[in-house]
Subunit: 559 residues, 2 copies
């Protein structure tokens, strides 16, 4: 059955290496053409590069062992990869088509029980390549189309084609960032890109340090580690007992990774002091100073402040300059967590929200969020040169030999907490080349405009209530949808709050079941569940915003 389907699905191409033992209907028809005509349609071979064309191939008796490096495995390999690419390009195409569902939701137990020939269990014996291709199709089928124009669920959305190309190349190159020796081009790309990012932050001549890490949480963890190393370098060898009780400060609206870092690195989560925020979710500088004084009075040492530039829920930007003043006054490390907000640095219109960022000691900036780079792509940028190596190097002779024939200062592995490190830079570098700085700026500005459109649309609309007042600083628009049945109720009543708390989860569940769109929700402090709309998806248009609102109202009106 599957073979038949493969034949039917296949376009016919007369290939340079066409297999004659597996011709389908089109192949047989084509076989009647004259030799001269055949040659016309042959794949041209120049530069000693064979051009492989897809031919209908029966994968039902082929296995992984028939692929390269198997002897004569070249054709099978090419046909398999081209078949896979066909699956992937169709997936890409459909993901941008609004008539495609965002997801085809199934519960865990349903997928675990197995769906029509899609079985997740692993076995001792190999599956045929035909089944592998089916597995690939089904994996995509039951997944979530994060590139769909109506996927708004996370800070990372969209599917950038150049970024995708970059990832395909990266995985084909399959190398490791730890030395110039085995990743010469990628290591240099990382160095140049980090420098460019530091220039944009505003550090003189783009000087400083930095590294790409597996996500913003790890980047934030780096910032805490190097802050500790800067002020208490002896902790590296002697442990936390060599320092006084060290305290970290971060907003109650900040990302949980600062607290996780505090716990993991031996500070203790209780020594991560949460700062109060204003109604818009921005740190109140006076509260920071008061809490620093309180900590000092207790005899502890205030070490580090994290200012969030683009908070997860509200998209709030802490006032960096005021916080920097306080950090200078008390000789503390200032980190700016721009994991989400970082992209705004590329926008002449919006970068003022980062005012003062050049005074930071370190900055987290995730191109995989607002800039649309495929996950993972996160940078930790540091003002002081050499401090990452000072903090993390263990000088492993077996990996980083000083007696190489090239300048080993390019071997960056020892400054990481990782050993092997995935190549996250290429897709980002390639996107930058393809769009220019200006292309990123346009993307950012467009997303901010769209969020303003959403804000303008709903702020006075019947049945909506904004979670905070005023134009959002980032693309986060936080709101409650109030179903008609709740509209007349007393807002402060327990019953109202309990009912409202269930509205967003209910609508979200129905959205997922119908597969039409996805948007996040959560409570925050005393505020019951509300929708947090974020826009980073380059495919989103105003009509998609309209669709989202229609969908919320369609699904929520009878709640």
């Amino acid at each position: 059955l599957l073979s038949k389907k493969n034949f039917l699905q296949h376009g016919w191409v007369m290939g340079f290496l066409q297999k004659n033992n597996s011709l389908g209907e089109e192949g047989r028809l084509a076989g009647s053409l004259s030799e001269r005509q055949k040659n016309l349609f042959s794949c041209v071979n120049s530069d000693r590069d064979a051009r492989f064309c897809r031919t209908e191939t029966d994968f039902s008796n082929m296995f992984a062992r028939d692929l390269l490096p198997a002897k004569n495995g070249e054709e099978a390999t090419m046909q398999f990869l081209l078949e896979l690419v066909d699956i992937l390009t169709n997936y890409v195409r459909k993901s941008f088509d609004r008539s495609t569902k965002v997801l085809d939701f199934h519960h865990p137990h349903q997928l675990l029980e197995g769906m029509e020939g899609f079985n997740l269990e692993l076995s001792d014996q190999p599956e045929s390549l035909e089944q592998i291709l089916v597995d690939c199709r089904d994996t995509l089928k039951y997944g979530v189309r994060t590139g769909h124009p109506r996927f708004f669920n996370q800070l990372s959305t969209g599917l950038d084609i150049i970024g995708l190309a970059g990832e395909w190349l990266t995985s084909t190159a399959n190398t490791n960032m730890f030395t110039y020796e085995i990743a010469p081009v990628f290591v240099l790309m990382e160095q140049l890109t980090l420098k460019k990012m530091r220039e944009i932050i505003g550090w003189p001549s783009g000087e400083g340090d930095g590294i790409f890490s597996p996500g913003g949480a790890i980047s934030n963890m780096y910032s805490v580690m190097i802050a500790r190393y800067k002020y208490f370098p002896e902790v590296k060898a002697k442990g936390m007992s060599a320092a006084p009780r060290l305290v970290l400060f971060t907003s109650e609206h900040s990302h949980y990774s600062i607290k996780k870092a505090g716990a993991a690195l031996g500070f203790g989560s209780e020594n991560v002091v949460l700062l109060s925020t204003d109604e818009r979710g921005r740190v109140i500088p006076a509260d920071l100073e008061a809490k620093i004084l309180d900590v000092k009075q207790k005899g502890y040492h205030p070490l580090f402040v994290n200012a969030t530039a683009g908070s997860t829920v509200y998209g709030a930007f802490d006032p960096i300059n005021e916080i920097a003043d306080i950090c200078e006054k008390y000789n503390m490390w200032l980190h700016v967590d721009g994991a989400w907000g970082g992209g705004l640095l590329m926008s002449r219109k919006h970068r003022h929200k980062f005012s003062g960022v050049e005074r930071a000691n370190s900055v987290t900036w995730n191109p995989h969020k607002m800039m649309g780079v495929p996950l993972q792509c996160s940078a930790i940028l540091v003002r002081e040169k050499g401090i990452l190596a000072g903090c993390n190097s263990m000088c492993a002779g077996y990996l980083f030999q000083p007696d190489k024939q090239y300048d080993v200062s390019y071997d960056t592995g020892d400054k990481a907490i990782q050993c092997g490190r995935h190549v996250d830079i290429f897709k980002f570098w390639l996107m930058w080349k393809a769009k220019g700085t200006i292309g990123f700026e346009q993307h950012i500005d467009k997303c901010l405009d769209l969020s303003q459109y959403l804000y303008d649309k709903i702020r006075n609309r019947e049945g909506y209530e904004m979670v905070f007042d005023g134009v959002p600083q980032h693309t986060n628009v936080c709101f409650w949808y109030i179903p008609p049945s709740l509209r007349g109720m007393e807002h402060n009543s327990k019953e109202y709050r309990e009912k409202l708390h269930k509205v967003a989860p209910n609508i979200k569940a129905m959205m997922m079941e119908s597969g039409t769109t996805m948007v996040g929700y959560q409570p925050q402090g005393q505020k019951v569940n509300f929708f947090r709309m974020v826009i980073s998806n380059p495919a989103a248009l105003q009509s998609d915003i309209d669709f989202l609102i229609d969908e919320i109202e369609r699904l929520g009106r009878d709640l």
Copy 2:
């Protein structure tokens, strides 16, 4: 010029969506065929999936902004991706061809100055898609072919076609492991695969905990964190000052990541005690016990022992059972770092080297090393269920909402130290499906056989000296090549040692300049630089081993 080259390189295919404004020579010829014939060669369209065929496309006036989600961007997107795939598949094909160089070495300053139209600098304005494709070609050209049959430089080598397909799909799906909501299939695959790995370790019913992390160093860091949490859970909130001085033990031959973890997590690198090893690089259990007693006598708390299963340089396996006895006696956490050795668990012939592993509390196992899975793919496996969440969760309500419509125990994000987490599981799951357990076993056994072949070949060969005696436990074969000029010299003389120290770096430099093969070298303790040959490359044959030896002798004979 480049356009011309594109035309010439292109195979001609009559496409469903062929562009008429950019026909090259083949296109024009084809244009003279009758309509009936044209249709024969059209890409078949069924299932409402268009089959895209490559057509010669002029990318010189096309930009990233012309690709999806641009209006009418579908054809440009398909053509661009297919062109890129052509570059990639040619690269793959050539990487398995022994007549291709492993690398085309250039110094950093050469690449930074720019190579014939390949410029690493980023700019404000976009580049054309034609230039982007050139950038892709050049990035591969100046890189290192880690899949080449003669690339032996790292523990991760080879290019597995199924793994590659898995990575291409993963990047196309571009999602994030933190919730079932947005990665339902991948989250389940991870769960099932971790269970299977735990079964192979030998934990009853495969019960326990685990997660895929961005590399062995992070997996090892997890092990230290959870050991601390197990014995001193109060450290999570209160910091290291809530615990006595905690000490970690690991072999002097172990990976530096244990020491890095000690420094990062606040233990201090001085509280990572290095254990003495026997001549083969295996921990001496009596030394462990003596050092534990010494630490206890000082009033410190011995917390954690790392046993290495496959050390980086010698490939040594520490005696896990003896170490487990000591850990039980002193109530300590036993971690087994099988980042490199883990694959041997899949081999009935070699898994005895892991004897006792089921007694470990945690195990690091990197499928991206010995099992040939593309980087990154590393698992931390834990015997006690739920401890990862206990150790790391911060219960961030905005990400992990308890009021979802599905079983939220599948939302695994909060047990990670990361927030966003790259999908590392799919390529591994797909390879397991495609090869079966038995396929991994065959690969492992073949690599071990090859290393035995190398060992047998050189151990009594003139001009070679083994770094340690006996058949290697893993595929690591460590040896000095002694050029003829050094063969008569007194081995203990300073002059001999100094000269020998330079031999491997010199040969390696010449290897890289000539691009014929790559193998690692390093000193170890008092031992001067020697070659460390490792075999994890599925493409390697005995003839490649022969080639390596010939090459070492060719390059080294006049040193």
